[in-house]
Structures are given as C-alpha cells and as structure tokens.
C-alpha cells in the first residue's frame, strides 16, 4: 500500500465541537422530528382522504341523508339520530373501517422512509434509529386520534340532538325512560296498542286479530268484530298483563346513547384505531414494505378475528385468547349490540370465546408493546 504520508498537508485539525445539548444519541425523539413526521404523513393526500372519508365522511353523509329524508318525508323516514343509529354506525362502520384505515396509516409510516429512500439520509444524521422509529408513534396518533374523535363527535351529536321522541318497541311507539308503573299506565291508556303490538307469552283473554302497522297504528282486519264485544275494563286488565311481561325488555331500550356510553364507546374505538396504527407500524417496519402488511391487517380484522373470536377450538383456545380482536370485543361496551359477538348486555348475550378482562387487557398491552419492540428492533438492525 502506498503511504499517503506526503499527501497534501491536512488542514489544521479543526472540528467544530458538536453543538452542546445535541441529543441525537438519545432514543427519545424531539418535537421537531414528530412535527415533521406529522407533516410527511399529512401531505399524503390519498391516505389522508381515505382517513377522512372513513372516519368523518361516511358517518356524516349517512346522517345527513337521514336528516334530509326525515325533513322531507317524516312519515316514511324516521329521525336521523337515536340509539339504534349510534350503535349501528359505531359498530358497523367506525370500529372496523377505523381499524383498517389506522392500520394503513401505520403501515405507511412504518415503511415509507425505506421505500422512498429517506431512511438512509436519516441514519446519516447520526440520530438514534430508535428515536427515528419512536417519532412515528406520536405523529401517527396525532393524526388518527383526532380524526376518529371528530367523526365520533359528529355521530354522537346527531344521535343525541336528532333522536326520536318515542321509542319504537316491537313496532309500537312508546315514550322512553318509563318506570314500571309508568309503563303500566301507558299500557292502560293505550290498551289496543299494547294488546295488538306487544308480545305475550301465554294465553290472553282478548282474542282479537289485530296488528300494528309501520306508522304505529292499530289495524283490525275488515269483517272482524274488533274490540266491540270487549269491555274497557277487560281490555285494560289484559293490557296491564302484557305490559308487566314486557317491561324487562323495554327498559333496555334507549332513546339516545347516554353520556357514559358515548364516553366508553369513544374510548373503545380510539383504542381500536390506536392498536391498528401501532401494529401496522411495527409490522411494516419489520417487513420493510407497505402492501403485504396492509393486506395482513385486513385479513386479521375481517377474517381471522371474527372467525376465531366466535368459534372455540379446544386445543387452540389459548392461542385464540391471544387475538387482540377478541380482547377488544370483550371490552366492547355492554350496551352496544353484538358487533363482534361482544357487548349486547352481558352474560348470556355474548357468543365470544371466553376471556377474563385481565387477560384481555394483558393481550392488548402485549400487542402494543410487542409490535413496537419488533418494529424498533428491525429499524435498529436493518441495513440502510
């Protein structure tokens, strides 16, 4: 090897000391890193449009159409809001699609530096690779959490302020929130509706072929005597018997979601979106690409979770309990319908693979920590 001892005289050894308080070796990301990461994700128009459409657009348009329809034809279209609409929108759309969109965001955040060629530039800055990874978590959550909250707030507002004034119980319009006595009084004052519309288990003294139509009106077929031969006292007594048997089912109906239910539901779908983002981020970082992780996340949410949450396989039941979707289903507020087999009013109402609350929480924490650790490990070890 030729020595370079006689090469041009090296410049006087002059190194500006690295700036004091330079914390680039720290694993904690700084605020500027998080802000610029938010900017990078926010500028992805297609992804942001999808997030806004799913989390805000779809519920808003759905509710808007219902509001307009109700205004135009109130007899044909019921009120836009109410408890039923709330639960269907939350469980049917916001929970599932919110997860998928959050997972897509996570997969994007976890892979774009690699696919766009920026990872190398970032590593060359000397910044801790762990900090580069961790900066993505608050950045992604800063986008997805407010969007989910915005969509959910709109749903809550419409469902509360545009709720129906009467509950439709078994097709019979009934005032909401009645006590047992109040419900009995209502039945006594609306005996025909009670007798013709409410179910009764057992023999009933009034044998009239009647029913309630879509507008809540009692219909008696032509050619039948109807209630002409029945005394008002008998009719009231029968209505009271029917009401007493139906009160237990009636009291579970709400006109609109209560504040505690809305808070619990909001936290539940935010947690679901957070899980989607964190798992997507870790998986994409591990695999170094976006497409396959997104597909895997959709498969997890749409196929694996529903199947393995409802069907207990004896030899695999502990593995099934490791599914984060099952744990989330067990956390579903009980006043919601059986969106995932969970919720729906507690014992006897659930078709889920059984799992204790403690185990469920542990599973969720393990998924969050585990995928973060895997993604960060791959980020630190990966050749740039």
């Amino acid at each position: 090897m030729t020595s370079v001892a006689n090469s041009p005289a090296p410049a006087a050894a002059k190194v500006t000391n690295p700036v004091s308080r330079d914390t680039r070796g720290s694993w904690i990301p700084n605020g500027a890193m998080i802000r610029t990461r938010i900017m990078e994700l926010r500028k992805r128009r297609g992804l942001m449009a999808a997030m806004i459409v799913v989390n805000v657009g779809v519920p808003t348009i759905f509710l808007l159409v219902r509001i307009v329809a109700h205004i135009v034809a109130p007899k044909s279209y019921g009120p836009a809001g109410g408890y039923d609409i709330f639960s269907n929108l939350v469980v049917g759309i916001m929970y599932f699609f919110g997860f998928i969109v959050a997972a897509t965001l996570g997969c994007t955040a976890g892979s774009v530096d690699l696919t766009d060629g920026m990872f190398r530039h970032l590593v060359i800055t000397g910044r801790s690779r762990l900090a580069l990874y961790l900066a993505r978590i608050p950045a992604g959550l800063a986008l997805i959490v407010p969007l989910v909250a915005a969509g959910f707030t709109i749903v809550c507002a419409v469902c509360v302020f545009a709720a129906p004034t009467k509950i439709n119980y078994q097709g019979v319009p009934v005032p909401p929130g009645l006590s047992a006595t109040g419900f009995n009084h209502w039945a006594e004052s609306h005996p025909k509706e009670a007798v013709c519309g409410l179910p009764y288990n057992g023999p009933i003294g009034v044998q009239v072929p009647c029913f309630i139509n879509g507008q809540g009106t009692v219909i008696i077929p032509r050619g039948t005597p109807g209630f002409k031969n029945i005394s008002p006292a008998t009719l009231k007594a029968e209505a009271l018997r029917v009401a007493e048997q139906n009160y237990a089912a009636y009291q579970k109906l709400f006109l609109y979601p209560s504040v505690p239910l809305m808070i619990r539901t909001g936290l539940w779908i935010e947690l679901e979106a957070t899980i989607g983002f964190i798992v997507g981020l870790g998986l994409a970082s591990l695999m170094g690409q976006r497409t396959v992780p997104v597909v895997l996340m959709i498969v997890l949410e749409v196929i694996l979770t529903p199947v393995f949450s409802r069907t207990a396989i004896p030899h695999l039941i502990n593995a099934q309990r490791g599914l984060v979707g099952l744990a989330m289903a067990h956390l579903e507020p009980s006043a919601l319908p059986h969106g995932l087999g969970g919720g729906g009013g507690g014992p006897g109402g659930s078709t889920l693979v059984p799992e204790s609350l403690t185990v469920g929480i542990c599973v969720i924490v393990a998924w969050l920590v585990g995928w973060t650790a895997l993604g960060a490990w791959r980020m630190v070890k990966r050749d740039a």
Binding site: N6, A13, V15, T16, R24, G25, H121, I124
Partner: protein, 325 residues
C-alpha cells in the same frame, strides 16, 4: 473471519487526528463475497479525496460501513478522529453524505424534505436550510415537489442535505451521476469551494477524468481491497511513461533502439516512434534515447513525454492487479 473486532478507540482524541477518515483492517462480507477486504484507508483532512474503482469494487459498501448504514465484520474505523460505530452520533454530527442515488419523499417539496432531515440533526441545522438550498442553486425550486425534480436536481438536493450539518467531512458517492456537463462543472466547482473552506470531501467515482480534475489524492480499490492510495501527482509520477519521438527514419530508429534498454515496446508511426517505458523510468531516459538516435545519424525533430492520465494509470494498476491475482 475469525477476528471479530470492531474496536473502538477512545474518543478523547477527537480533534487531534490528522485524518478525516481512518480505517484499519476493515472488512465486510456478504456471505462468501468479501465486499470490503481488509481496507487500510487514510483520508487526509482539508482535501478532495477520490475513492476510485470499477463497478462492483466495493466503493459504496465501504461508504455504507463508514456511515453506519451496515455493520463491519472486522476492523476499526474513525471519522474526524471519532471512532465509529461506538460514537456514531458524535462522529456523524459533522459528516454529510450521499450514498447511491439520492432519493427523497417525492410528495414533499425539497424544502420539506430538508426540514425532516434538519429535525433529526441539531437545532442549528434548521437555520441552515435556506443557505444550503442557495448554495446548491436550488432555492428557486425549493417549494416544488421532489417528484418533479430531475436527477441532477435531486443530486443537488442531496448535497444541500449534506450541508445542513455544517459538515467537516462530506462523503459523496458518485456525485456526478445523472448530471449534464454544466451540472458536472458546477458540482466540481462546489466541491472545490467546500475544500477551500477546510472541509474534506471524499468522493467515490468511476469517472476518472472528473476525479483527476477535482481531487488532490485518491485511493484505488479493486475487489474490495485498496491497492494504491496517495496524492495524484505522486502516484502518476511512478506510472509508466510514454515518449513520442519525431525523427527522419522511424524504421531505422526502431532498429537502433531495439537493441537498447528501451526496446521493450516501441510502436512505429508515420512521423516517428512511440516508446513505452516502464514505471520508475527517470527523465534521463529521454536524453539517452536522443543520444542513441543522433549517434546513429538519425535526425531527431522533437521528443515529447506524454503525460499519463489518471485513467491510463488506473487501467495499468487494475490490470496489473488482475495479472498478479
């Protein structure tokens, strides 16, 4: 490799090292392929240093190892006197680099890309974005999306990214790639201006002509191994020499010289001879050729030593290596 020693020297001699880059026994393998083979490299500070080699010689791999983009299997290395990878954060604080083709987030503007990179550096870096863009002549396109940039513009943006950290050492991997002649000229001027500010620029390239115009010293790498390094002038001084002789009777002149020490390789041309002399031949040989021809009655019209280019020397060196190996 049995020895797995990524040794780390003490960082206490940060500013005392005279070398911007120093490696000893640096080795990087990919399976059975040794991409970087026991490299001993010393890049002096304050100069433009060329790292030359044919495609696949291991130039980019060495740079990636130096920058911590991939791990070395053996050896020691330091940047600006700070050992890496142990003190990688401190070492890279004053290093800027482009590795391979510079790529950025295409959906962001040039400025926004620099903001992301500045955020990962020290706080002062954020204040250097505008000046970096100005310096590489990209200020007027800074707010355009990178997806609309040409290759040359991305190269410039890559250099701007390097300048964010006020680097003492810039490592540029094939910086002339994709540049048109004017762009290459500008890049060359920029490199020279950076060197004039006491910065060290280490550039890898296979464009030997550009390196010869830009660099003060070079290292030649082949098959992962550094086979020569030093100042260009010194390296070329030891290269083989070619002498053009304009004379009256070229055929007779060749016969005269064929029996002398210079007869090993002589080409006859219409107006004279082209004599190839082995490396290490002194200038006295030219006078001796003249004397032999004149004594034999051949009129000598002119004698010209042809300057060996870095390119021809590079080919000599690498082909010789090939023969030896």
């Amino acid at each position: 490799m049995s020895t797995h020693t990524i040794d780390d020297t003490s960082p206490s001699n940060v500013s005392e090292s005279e070398w911007a880059v120093e490696t000893h026994g640096l080795t990087k393998r990919f399976g059975d392929n040794v991409a970087v083979n026991d490299v001993e490299l010393l890049v002096p500070r304050g100069c433009a240093f060329g790292y030359l080699g044919p495609n696949g010689a291991g130039k980019t791999t060495l740079i990636r190892v130096l920058l911590g983009l991939t791990r070395a299997d053996a050896g020691t290395m330091s940047l600006l006197g700070v050992s890496v990878p142990r003190h990688r954060d401190r070492a890279l604080a004053r290093v800027g680099a482009i590795v391979d083709e510079p790529r950025f987030h295409g959906h962001l503007t040039g400025r926004q890309n620099l903001e992301i990179l500045a955020a990962a550096r020290e706080r002062d870096a954020r204040g250097r974005i505008d000046s970096s863009l100005e310096r590489v002549g990209m200020a007027h396109r800074a707010n355009d999306r990178v997806s609309k940039y040409s290759m040359g513009m991305r190269q410039r943006l890559g250099v701007a990214a390097c300048l964010l950290g006020d680097p003492q050492l810039l490592i540029l991997d094939e910086p002339m790639n994709g540049l048109d002649p004017a762009g290459m000229h500008e890049m060359r001027d920029m490199i020279l201006s950076l060197v004039s500010e006491d910065r060290t620029v280490m550039l890898s390239s296979h464009l030997l002509d550009e390196v010869e115009r830009t660099c003060d010293a070079v290292a030649i790498v082949d098959s992962g191994k550094v086979i020569r390094q030093g100042p260009i002038s010194e390296l070329l001084a030891g290269a083989a020499m070619e002498v053009h002789v304009g004379c009256s009777s070229p055929d007779r002149a060749r016969s005269v010289l064929a029996t002398s020490a210079f007869g090993e390789k002589i080409d006859v041309e219409s107006t004279g001879l082209s004599i190839h002399l082995p490396s290490g031949t002194g200038k006295d040989a030219i006078a001796e050729i003249n004397r032999l021809l004149v004594e034999d009655g051949i009129a000598v019209y002119h004698l010209e030593e042809v300057q060996v280019s870095l390119e021809s020397w590079f080919l000599q060196v690498t082909s010789r290596l090939g023969e030896n190996v």
